[in-house]
């Protein structure tokens, strides 16, 4: 008996979705794979998250393109699953649905003043400077001389670099034009980066940390007292510390030993400091911080504990909060409210009683939480897809009620006349790259939905009333 071709919908065209599409095509060459994406452009955080001065990483888009769109996987952009088309509808048209929707919100600090004007999630700033169309209208006030970044991970390092790089360096990147204009006028001279825990526990990679100490026109400052490790951290570093943690401490000690410079901009890395309140009359004027000490919790983890009641006030006009991502529930799909993931076993999404929900899978951050780096998604996708392939061989999930691709195409044509397919994306890509070449930049991004849809040729099909 001839096998029926499985039809697979992947929801979210970020790195996890792209690796999953590639993995399905490798494992089941006969599969018909459709990659759904809320934005008119694919590759998620590779386009909208990875910092513009890290262009080398963006080369991964060539691999994604080669292994997915150039192998017959379809791009269905500008379609939001859960809004334009429901989960139940996908299940009628596809043998399997793989969710790759990532972690779309930020964790909050839960302190007073967090909602003041001038206090932002770092990811909002990232989406803005990377030309995410939903964030184009944000206005960051860069008129004060000091900004504070809360958090010690790589997003914190990215936003710190973007705030301190010179306009000359930014001009060589694909930073969004509206951000470039605003950053050119920036009066920020100092970025204070606050770590809740100590130098040994900072979540930076040593590569990102080293980079902060090598920026042109930027001094990096670390208080020597901050890099004298407490006994708990010293012991942890010697006995359990990772190679990266040891490198970070080494780098921070080297930064602390540098003589004070007179560069036009400064990065001050402060440790064992927790923000307790963001203050200001109408907008951010200062952030209050308290000192912490490191203690070993019962579960063995090293935690920050307030040392005393003393409060230090740091004046600033901008606060970027970068203490982690969190996923949001998806309509009509189970959600683990404690771990903020789709409940799953090796990528098979589970119902409340712990049994697999036939035909529904998860990959990437919505599966494992916001951990790991880009390449982590490759192995993660292979794990999910191996479950899918096993299930297909076993006959679960069954073929969907709707027999062919033409039915979902008819539905999408009716609901989304401004659908962006691979041809539309290639038109956007070509347009952006051509503009980039003429300005000696890697790419000049179109940063509004209308511009993107116009370039994709999708607007002509849109009813006039739907245009904003």
């Amino acid at each position: 008996m001839a096998r029926t071709r499985p039809r697979v919908a992947i929801v979210g065209a970020g790195p996890a979705g792209a690796f999953a599409a590639a993995s399905v095509l490798r494992a089941r060459g006969d599969a018909e794979v459709d990659l759904f994406e809320r934005l008119p452009t694919p590759w998620g955080l590779l386009r909208g998250g990875v910092a513009p001065d890290h262009q080398e990483i963006k080369r991964l888009e060539d691999l994604f393109d080669r292994q997915t769109l150039r192998r017959g996987c379809r791009f269905l952009g500008n379609v939001e699953v859960g809004v334009d088309v429901s989960h139940a509808e996908l299940m009628e048209h596809y043998t399997a649905v793989i969710y790759a929707t990532g972690a779309q919100t930020d964790k909050s600090l839960r302190i007073p003043g967090e909602d003041l004007s001038g206090s932002w999630a770092a990811t909002e700033f990232v989406a803005w400077y990377n030309g995410h169309p939903d964030y184009r209208g944000l206005e960051f006030d860069l008129s004060a001389t000091r900004a504070v970044v809360v958090g010690n991970g790589n997003v914190a390092a990215d936003v710190t670099r973007i705030l301190t790089l010179s306009a000359r360096e930014l001009e060589r990147t694909d930073v969004a034009d509206h951000a470039l204009d605003a950053l050119r006028e920036s009066r920020i001279e100092e970025v204070v980066v606050l770590g809740r825990r100590g130098p040994a526990q900072a979540a930076f990679t040593s590569a990102e940390l080293r980079e902060l100490g090598r920026l042109d026109g930027v001094d990096v400052r670390v208080d020597p007292a901050d890099v004298e490790l407490d006994a708990v951290s010293q012991r942890w570093l010697a006995e359990e510390g990772t190679f990266t943690a040891r490198k970070n401490v080494e780098l921070l000690r080297e930064f602390a030993a540098r003589p004070a410079g007179d560069a036009p901009r400064r990065i001050a890395l402060r440790f064992l400091r927790s923000p307790v309140e963001i203050r200001g009359a109408a907008s951010v004027e200062a952030i209050d911080v308290r000192r912490n000490e490191i203690v070993r919790a019962d579960d063995g983890a090293l935690r920050a504990r307030p040392l005393d009641e003393a409060v230090e006030t740091i004046e600033c006009g901008l606060v970027l909060r970068s203490v982690g991502y969190q996923a949001v529930p998806l309509p009509d799909v189970p959600f683990d409210e404690r771990r903020f993931v789709l409940p799953n076993e090796r990528g098979r999404v589970l119902t409340a009683d712990g049994t697999p929900l036939p035909g529904v899978y998860a990959v990437g951050w919505i599966k494992r939480g916001p951990t790991g780096i880009l390449g982590t998604n490759k192995r993660d996708a292979d794990e999910t897809v191996s479950c899918l392939v096993e299930d297909l061989a076993a006959g679960t999930p069954a073929q969907p009620p709707q027999p062919g691709r033409d039915r979902i195409d008819a539905l999408l044509a009716e609901r989304k006349p401004d659908l962006v397919t691979v041809e539309g994306w290639r038109a956007i890509d070509g347009h952006e790259l051509r503009r980039g070449r003429s300005e000696q930049r890697p790419r000049v991004k179109l940063a509004s939905r209308d511009e993107l849809l116009d370039a994709a040729g999708a607007t002509a099909a849109r009813p006039a009333a739907a245009r904003s």
């Binding site: 080398e56 040593s206 080293r210 090598r214 190679f243 990266t244």
Partner: protein, 93 residues
């Protein structure tokens, strides 16, 4: 000479799959894999075949004499990773 992995590594393990002498670590499944911020090439074992260079999707691997200035520290870092690993192995053994 040896090849060297630079700090832009995304831990896609394409290089590990093609390395004929198994000199790229940590490998998926190894205890230190998840915590590693990048993969490293053991300069003592690398045979300069350049298979990994071809396989890397983001061109993060360079010949030691062609390392861009921004990654000038990377050869020492790769070497040091294996020196530490050697110490740990001896301690464990």
């Amino acid at each position: 000479m040896t090849y060297v992995i630079a700090g832009s590594c995304i831990k896609d393990d394409s290089c590990i799959e093609v390395c004929p002498v198994d000199c790229i670590h940590p490998k998926p499944g190894a205890p230190d894999f998840d915590a590693a911020e990048q993969l490293y090439i053991d300069p003592e074992v690398c045979i300069d075949c350049d298979a990994c260079v071809e396989a890397c999707p983001i061109d993060a691997i360079f010949a030691d004499f062609q390392l861009p200035e921004k990654y000038d520290y990377a050869l020492d870092l790769n070497r040091e990773f294996f020196a530490e690993l050697g110490t740990a192995d001896r301690t464990a053994g």
